[in-house]
Amino acid sequence: MDYVAALFTDVLELHGDRRFRDDPAMFAGMARFEGQPVVIIGHNKGKDTKENIARNFGMPYPEGYRKALRAMKLAEKFTVPVVAFVDTPGAFPGDAAEERGQAEAIARNIQEMSRLRTAAIVVITGEGGSGGALAIAVGDVVLMLQYAVYTVITPEGCAAILWHDATRAPEAAAALRLTAKDLQALGVVDEVLTEPFAGAHRDSDAVFAEVRDALRRHLGVLRQVSPEELVNRRYAKFRQLGVLHETGAPAGQSR
């Protein structure tokens, strides 16, 4: 969660879902963005190997999603915008996660976020792994970094199903159209944020500046919109996603 430190001030981290435990794979907190209050949620992978392990590589359990939901409802109560950072391989596929209702937790978050009566901006910064990502990604605006990916299934998983050969993941990745540019073309992503490189490495400061600029622009616009209007627009935004065909009629998109 380098983004939290880089872009926000007065950060107060919130812990726990009040039901089971605090999930270190999910961040939740209150903060200020250029002086204005916001609620931040986001997958938390950690910086080094030790932290990666402690944070389960950013793969939340149900309690992680429930913590995020608690933070979103807090934001709603005080009409504070939500900023969600998405970076996860997916929801954790473990027996304990299943027993505690991983599917229900994700479904509940998706539904509640779709009708949250406050603004929500989503930034996909790294991996957007399927339902585990979408659980905090039903935003009024969905931003995506240039080299991030967002996919319904891992390329390895897809290749294993299609060709019984996980090594053909690159082919599957191409077929899945999971890049920021592809997703913008499909209407799933509103804006792609460029990731400049400094030599061989990503220039973090330049990326932070890109994200800051986008947040400023979109928060400025969304603050002017009433909660009712936000909910209606958000419903319409996701409602129109998908490409349909009426047999006997010419092919056409639903939107």
């Binding site: 229900e104 996919t151 077929a175 997703l183 996701f238 409602r239």
Partner: protein, 293 residues
């Protein structure tokens, strides 16, 4: 928006998956069952109570009153927006195999006279996977229930999101969850029934958002696949892991309902919710709603 298509009268159950012949082999107990007997028992094995999988058409046929089902959007299908390798062919094969254009049927019908919007996913059609069309139809079913002030009943049987439509399939989770959310806000009941199997993206969206969640005995219900979980935790999982009974024990669903009791249970729920009922319910109402409420 809606095409009013008369359904073909469902009549007796149709067999698509089972090979022809007088005898059918139960996949669980391996006993040979006289096929007519199996049909009479709604395809529940008389020896071991294994609930055979049903097509969407069969599901609605055994659940709804015989007359009066009207299908909506019967010709709505997914396109191939990503020109995904092999998808067009897979769709065509599924259409040939099932005789249906997509993996879900939805419409309006009655159960013991109680009016309801009903949808059923079809596992025989590409594993009941949810692409744009399945998501759209489930969404329209919820929206229609809201507009018509009717309850919604959805039978799920699905391996999850349809990967051949990429992230657009994932977006159907958002669309359907939002739509049943609006139904909830309108104060209308939604009963979700999980049949074998209900996994992945369908569980992580509308299937787990019912006011009441039922499941058929022995149905596999879960988010992640068993193999993936075993690889992750490096342990064998117990046999009953992710079964309907397991989910009931863990508090994830409300009831496990045998197929023979499903109709009566649903009628009881609809009666409890107090929706509209036909003036003259079909005469086959043997047990009144009292049994389950």
């Amino acid at each position: 928006m809606l095409n009013w298509l008369r359904r073909p009268k469902y009549g007796s159950l149709q067999r698509r998956e089972m090979p022809a012949g007088i005898w059918a082999k139960c996949p669980r107990c391996s006993n040979l069952i006289y096929r007519k007997e199996l049909e009479r028992s709604l395809r529940v094995c008389p020896k071991c109570t294994y609930h055979h999988r049903l097509s969407a058409e069969e599901r609605l046929a055994i659940t709804l009153d015989e007359d009066g089902f009207v299908e909506f959007d019967g010709s709505l299908t997914s396109a191939d927006p990503l020109s995904f390798v092999g998808y067009a062919q897979k769709l065509e094969e599924a259409r040939q195999k099932t005789g249906r254009p997509e993996a879900v049927i939805w419409g309006e019908g009655t159960i013991e006279g109680w009016r309801t919007v009903a949808a059923a996913l079809d596992f025989y059609f590409m594993g009941g996977s949810m692409g744009s069309a399945v998501g759209e139809k489930v969404t329209r079913a919820a929206e229609h229930a809201r507009e018509a002030r009717l309850p919604l009943i959805i039978f799920s049987a699905s391996g999850g999101a349809r990967m051949q439509e990429g992230v657009l399939s994932l977006m159907q989770l958002a669309k359907t969850s939002a739509a049943v959310g609006r139904l909830h806000d309108a104060g209308l009941p939604y009963v979700s029934i999980m049949c074998d199997p209900t996994t992945g993206g369908v569980t992580a969206s509308f299937a787990f958002l019912g006011d009441v969640i039922l499941a058929e005995p022995g149905a596999t219900i879960g988010f992640a696949g068993r193999r993936v979980i075993e690889q992750t935790i490096r342990r064998k999982l117990p046999d009953d892991f992710q079964t309907a009974e397991f989910c009931l024990h863990k508090g994830l669903i409300d009831m496990v309902v045998a197929r023979s009791e499903m109709r009566r249970t649903l009628a009881g729920l609809l009666a409890f919710f107090g929706g509209p009922r036909l003036e003259k319910p079909v005469p086959e109402v043997a047990a009144p709603q009292g049994a389950q409420t």
